[in-house]
Every structure is written in C-alpha cells, then in structure tokens.
C-alpha cells in the first residue's frame, strides 16, 4: 500500500527502470562473486554486453551534442522534447493501426515521437520569439501541454476496441535492462550521426552559440543552424527515450557537459571530455547495475554521472572550486604582501622626508606599520613571516623589520604601481578598466606607455616624492 502511494505520485518513470530490478527479486543486495564480476567486466554475457555498449555509446553522443546545448543555455530543452514526444507516439500508433498494420511498429513510433518532439521545439521557439515570455516558460508550457495531450490520447487509444495498445505508454520510459540488438544498431547509428555532426559543424555551432547575431551578419543561416542542432538533440532524445528512459536521457544531455566545463576552457577539449565522461558514466553505471542486484540501470547511470559531476566541480583543473579557492587564497596573500610592501615604503618615505634626505633602506618600526593599516597584530606577524621566507625581508624582530635588497625594490615598484593607478583613476574615472589585477600587471601593459609617461610627469609635480622606475632600478631582480 505504501508503495502504491509512492507510485501514484511518481508515475511515469518508474516502470522501466524497475524492470531490471524486478528480474532479480528476492536476492540480497550485496551478493557478489568474482566469477560474475569477470563475466560482466569482460562483456561475456550477450545481454549485458548490449546494455553496457548501448548506454556508453548513447553517453558519448549526448555528451558531445549536449555541450552545445549547455553553451546555448538551453540545457532543459531535452526535458521539454522528451515529454513532447508522447502525443507523437499516440498519433503514429493510430495512423499505423488505421493503415492496417500492427500499431507497434518501432520505426513508425520513433518517427512519430521525433516529429512531435520537434514540433514541440518549434513551438518553444515560436513562443519565445513572438511573446515576452522567456525560454523557461516556453519550455514549461510545451512540456506540460504536449504531455497532457499525449496522456489523453493514449488513454483514448487504449479504449479503442481491437487496438492492442497495452504498454504503449511505457515506450518513453525505456527498458534499459532489455535492450535488444535492434536498439543497439539504432543507437549506434544515431550516435555516429550526431557525434560526427558535432565535429563537422563544430565551427558553425560554436559561432551560433557564442554570438548568433554576428553569425547572421556573416551570412550564416542562423535559424537553420539552430534547427540542425535541435534536430540532433531530438534524435538523441527519442532514441534515448525508448531505450534508456526519460530521466536518464535528460541527465545525459546535461550532466557530462556541465562536468566537462570544469576541466577546460577550450571548446574542442570540452566536447571530447564531455563525450568521455558520458560514455564512462554509461559504462560504469550499466556495469554496476549488472553486477549488483536491485540496482536499476538508468538510476545508477545518473548517479554515476552525478558523482563525476561533483568530483569535477570540486577538483576540475580549470574552473573547479578547489583551484578557484587556491587562486583566491593566493590573491589574498599577494594583496597582503603588496600592502606590507607599500606601507613599508611609505614609512621609509616619511622617515626620509623627516630627515630631509633620499629614501634608503632602513629599519622600520612595527608600530608604525601597524598604524598605517587596519591590521591585526597576528595578521601582520604572519605577513612578515611569509615575506621573510620569500626573501623580501632580510630580518625582523618584535620591534622592527628590515627589508632585503629585493624587498626594497619590490616595495618601490608596488608603491609606484599603486600611485600610478591612483592617478589614473582620478584622471580617467569614467574609463577605468575592469578585470585588471592592479598590483601585478605592469601599468604600462594595461594603459599604454604614453599614458603612463603622462601620469608620471603629473606625479612629479604632485606632493608625492620621486618613485624609482622599476625598469631602470630593479632590473635583474625578478
């Protein structure tokens, strides 16, 4: 009874995925032996082989084309398409029955599903282009209405006397565990088509996703390109639907590309990584499902993909959280060091001004440093300590610090940079560059040598004292 409640709530997607589990009811979950393991891993079993290969190939194909979908910011269109396929299945069944065939002729049903899925996509685009509704609402509308239409149709069809429509609705929920050779060939065909297309049309689809307006002015048929991408998505979705089910194909189109994005900033590499991750999830997931009892293949594959995603999000070498955290910490440390150098130089400057002579390297009192910034005592201590390690500070006590040779030059450079930027921001407040690391980049690099020269000449007449130019004085230090 309890489960009935669950399933009343969770309709559609269960049936197929549960299929694989119910074959082995009664066996315990952790039942494992090495012989089975070998058999599964070596793909010795015909059925297992088909399932594992099919899901992997599908993962590869959806990983590659899903990347474009992600970059076009339309990831959820797979969700809309997969639901929009249902009325097409009903209509195809009706037409085929009316023509006197068996209504369950697979290619016919697939064609019907593809057509109605594609019509769904067209309606999404039409809503978006002709109303103020955005992508999300357009997809939500198409998804729910097409699906409602499909359910209503299928219900009517089952009432038709003589038409054996039983099981038709399970079409879109897949049957991972019972993939047959025919499905395998179909999946392979579509997968090859789509993967090859995403490499042949790499340049065109990239341009479309990056800057469709510019693409249009270059004479590329933007609508046709958009449609070609969506046709590819629809094909993958329809094939995926009937073999592995609705939820898995949605996940396959979204998760591997999102995971791949954490590893690279290069689109071609992203495509490859995404395909590999998709294929890997399919392989590992299907293998696990075959090895252990009671693990529905579709669900396991999704969870394997999710695990890969989480791993990528944490440890991805290009945009992963860890690498970004490290960069952030480094930046903070660098800013702290810059502040220390800058403050030290200003203290030296004050001392020199006081005694009316040129600035040179002397002991700097810690108390004076502390006054200059909102440093905690411990904070300053650790800054000084790391600077010593980096050779910027020659020695220090609780009372004072003494900059090293390199440290003094660095302090001068930092101060100069800082002041030039300050001048620049005052002079050109409205055109301040964004995204610039103001400490590290040479000012000249960002602003151009002539502007820097002008700023410098202004600075000499300002109350600031002369700041040595790093190019002339600290050459060879870095």
């Amino acid at each position: 009874m309890l489960l009935k409640v669950l399933f009343v709530s969770f309709p559609f997607f269960l049936q197929p995925i549960l299929g694989s589990a119910s074959d082995h009811l009664g066996t315990s979950f952790i039942h494992f032996n090495f012989k089975d393991f070998l058999e599964v891993i070596s793909l010795a079993n015909y059925n297992t082989r088909l399932v594992i290969l099919s899901t992997s190939i599908l993962g590869i194909a959806s990983g590659s084309i899903g990347s474009f979908l992600l970059l076009r910011k339309r990831s959820l269109i797979g969700d809309a398409i997969s639901h929009a396929c249902l009325p097409g299945i009903g209509i195809a069944f009706l037409i085929m029955t009316a023509l006197g065939n068996t209504g369950k002729f697979l290619p016919g049903l697939l064609l019907g599903a593809s057509i109605s899925g594609f019509v769904g996509v067209l309606v999404v685009m039409a809503i978006r282009n002709t109303t103020k509704l955005k992508d999300d609402a357009a997809m939500g509308i198409v998804l729910s209405i097409f699906f409602g239409l499909g359910v209503a149709l299928l219900r009517i069809i089952t009432e038709i006397p003589g038409a054996s429509a039983a099981g038709l609705e399970s079409f879109i929920y897949g049957k991972t565990a019972s993939i047959v050779l025919y499905d395998f060939w179909l999946i392979s065909l579509v997968a090859i088509l789509v993967t090859v297309a995403s490499f042949i049309l790499l340049k065109e689809w990239t341009l479309l996703c990056f800057d469709s307006g510019y693409a249009a002015t270059q004479g590329w048929p933007v609508y046709a390109l958009d449609l070609s991408l969506l046709v590819g998505i629809t094909l993958v979705t329809v094939i995926g639907l009937q073999s592995v089910g609705l939820i898995l194909i949605i996940a396959f189109l979204i998760i591997p590309p999102s995971a791949a994005r954490f590893w690279t900033e290069n689109l071609k590499k992203m495509l490859i990584i995404s395909s590999v991750l998709g294929g890997l999830s399919g392989w590992v997931g299907a293998t696990m499902s075959a090895l252990f009892q009671n693990l529905p293949a579709g669900a396991v594959i999704v969870l394997v993909a999710t695990t890969i995603f989480i791993f990528s999000m944490l440890f991805g070498t290009s945009r992963g959280l860890l690498i970004r955290f490290i960069k952030h910490t480094k930046l903070n440390r660098k800013i702290g060091r810059d502040h220390l150098m800058h403050s030290s130089y200003e203290v030296l400057e004050e001392m020199a001004m006081h005694e009316n002579r040129m600035i040179n390297n002397q002991k700097i009192k810690r108390s004076r440093l502390l006054q200059r910034r909102s440093w905690m005592d411990t904070e300053l201590k650790s800054l000084i300590h790391t600077s010593k390690k980096n050779g910027l500070i020659e020695r220090y006590t609780d009372e004072y610090i003494l900059l090293g040779e390199a440290g003094f030059a660095e302090a001068a450079r930092t101060t100069r940079n800082h002041r030039l930027w300050e001048m620049y921001l005052i002079e050109y407040a409205e055109v301040a560059p964004t995204n610039v690391d103001r400490g590290a980049d040479l000012v000249e690099h960002v602003l151009g040598a002539d502007i820097v020269r002008m700023l410098e000449s202004k600075m000499k007449t300002s109350p600031y004292m002369y700041i040595p130019n790093p190019h002339s004085e600290s050459e060879g230090l870095s």
Partner: protein, 308 residues
C-alpha cells in the same frame, strides 16, 4: 452527456488544485524559473522514500514533510551549483532533479522487494478517483462530507493566498528587482526559498491528489496566459486563477465529451485540463490585445499601408 454529483466534485478538486498552483506559478514565470515546478515534482521522490523509511508509515503528513524538505533542497542545490560552480541555471536545475530522482528510485527499490505498480492509475493521474476518498466531519450537529483531496487542496490554496497576501510587497519587489529589495532590507533569498517551499508543498499535495501532469501545467500555463494579457501583478494573479478554473471546468467536460464523439469512453481529466489550459494559452497568444500575434500582424500591415 450526463453530469453527476461526482463530476462536480472532480471539477471542484481540479479547480482547487489549479488555483493553488496558479498563484505561486505567477512568480515562477516572472522570475524565469518556470521549470522549477517540473524539477521539484521529479525531485521530491527521495523525500517520500526517506520519510517512509524513517517513520515506517505511509501517513500523509510525514511524506508531505519529507517531500517539502527535498523540494526546498532542490532549489537550494540548484542555487549552489549555479552560484559556486558558475553553471547555467537551467543546467544546474537539470543536474539536481535528475540526480535526486535517480536517488529516490534506488531508495525505493532497496526499501522493498515487492513493487506494486498500478500503472494506469499512476500514468493518468487519479483525479477521477478523488471523490471516492471522503472525509467526514461534524460541526454544530451537522455532518459534512467532502473528498479528502478537495480538503487538502483547499488548505494549500488558503496557505498560498495567505503567504502571498502577507508578503505581497516583498514578493513583488524581489521578483522585479532583487538588488533593490536587498538595499531595502528585504531578504530576497528568504523570499526565494519561501516561494520554493510553497511550490514544493503545492506540488506534493497536488500530485498526490491529481497526478503530476496537471501540476506542472498549472504552475506555468495559466500564469503565462495571464502574463500575455496584463502587466499588473495583482490582476495577473486573478486572471491566472480565472484561467486555471476555466481550464479545470473545460478540461473535465472535454474529457467526457471529446471521446464520446468517436463513440469512446471518457479520457483522463487531468490530462485534458492541461490540454485545455494549453488551448486557452493559444487563444491568448493569438488574440492578446497588446502583444498577440494578430495585433502584431495588424501593426505591421498598418504601417505598410502608411508607407505606401
């Protein structure tokens, strides 16, 4: 067509469900999060499973709490992934709901070796059966009877109206301009999660009663229809409720009527309510006074004439 007391209850239940969805739906559409309803309705599965595993009962309340918690977690996880991982919002939603759904499936399969699956009841939503599950109660010596689903949905509707009524200002401003809301001291995040909680409990309550197609449709379609017709938020909410009730009535009638033209029995009411909501949307899309397709066409041809 014959109309029974039963049909009246079905229409009332459908209309209650549709209105309860339409109100938070307006904000989903305005905040460009329409797919959240779909995401949450898939993602609550592990919530139901865990609630059952912990309490060992199928009591509505524990399931309800479990589902609502996971519903909010769905919103939270999607937010994290898109914020910290810099992943597109739609994609992060997709990642979260497919993963949670898969997790829920595995939990359920592990929880029980005996899976009873009443596919037809499941697939088409059980709106037609709701009047059979009655609640009785007595008040001042009078005894009342009403379908349980209708009672639950009335409660949800009242909750939604109350929450929106109390926080109307906050909802409005944080949907329109979250940054401004922040400077005014309104916690947009809190409002966001309040909305997500509403969507979650509405979704759970509704699809226990009527199946999930109607929920997803009713969260988006009436609100989108209303959005095409008006620019005023209050009017938009009233209009969307009007459309959702209209869809419920038309939906049930057409579920009985349309198949009968072909000499067949009635089809699923939930599904037809969704379809009728779609028809109303289509009408608004074509005929909307300011931005309908027809209006746009006229403007074009008018200025063409002027140009000549």
């Amino acid at each position: 067509m014959e109309w029974y007391n039963l049909d009246t209850w079905i229409v009332i239940t459908g209309a209650l469900c549709a209105s309860a969805c339409a109100i938070p739906g307006c904000f989903l559409v305005l905040r460009q999060m329409s797919m959240m309803g779909d995401a949450i309705s898939h993602a609550v599965l592990p919530g139901l499973a865990i609630a059952f595993m912990i309490t060992g009962s199928r009591s509505s309340l524990s399931m309800f709490v479990g589902a609502a918690v996971v519903g909010v977690l769905t919103a939270l996880f999607s937010q994290w992934i898109s914020q910290f991982g810099k992943v597109d919002r739609g994609a992060s939603m997709g990642i979260v709901f497919t993963s949670l759904f898969a997790l829920g499936l595995i939990l359920i399969v592990q929880a029980s070796n005996h899976v009873e699956l009443d596919a037809s009841c499941v697939l088409y939503g059980a709106l037609e059966l709701t009047p059979l599950d009655l609640w009785h109660w007595e008040f001042l010596g009078l005894s009342f009877k009403a379908p349980r689903a209708a009672c639950v949905l009335t409660m949800i509707l009242v909750i939604n109206i109350t929450v929106i009524g109390i926080f109307y200002k906050e909802f409005k401003i944080s949907s329109f301009d979250p940054a401004l809301a922040k400077t005014l001291g309104i916690h947009s995040g809190l409002i966001h999660y309040l909305l997500m909680t509403m969507v979650a409990i509405t979704t759970v309550a509704a699809f226990e009663a009527v199946g999930s197609i109607i929920v997803i449709a009713m969260l988006v379609v009436p609100a989108a229809t209303a959005y095409l017709l008006t620019e005023n938020l209050v009017i938009m909410m009233f209009v969307s409720v009007f459309f959702s009730i209209a869809a419920a009535i038309l939906g049930h009638i057409s579920a009985i009527l349309v198949p009968s033209w072909f000499g067949l029995n009635s089809t699923s009411s939930s599904a037809m309510i969704a379809v009728m909501a779609g028809c109303l949307f289509l009408i608004a899309w074509i005929f909307a006074p300011k931005q309908g397709l027809l209006q746009n066409y006229f403007i074009k041809s008018k200025s063409h004439n002027k140009a000549r």
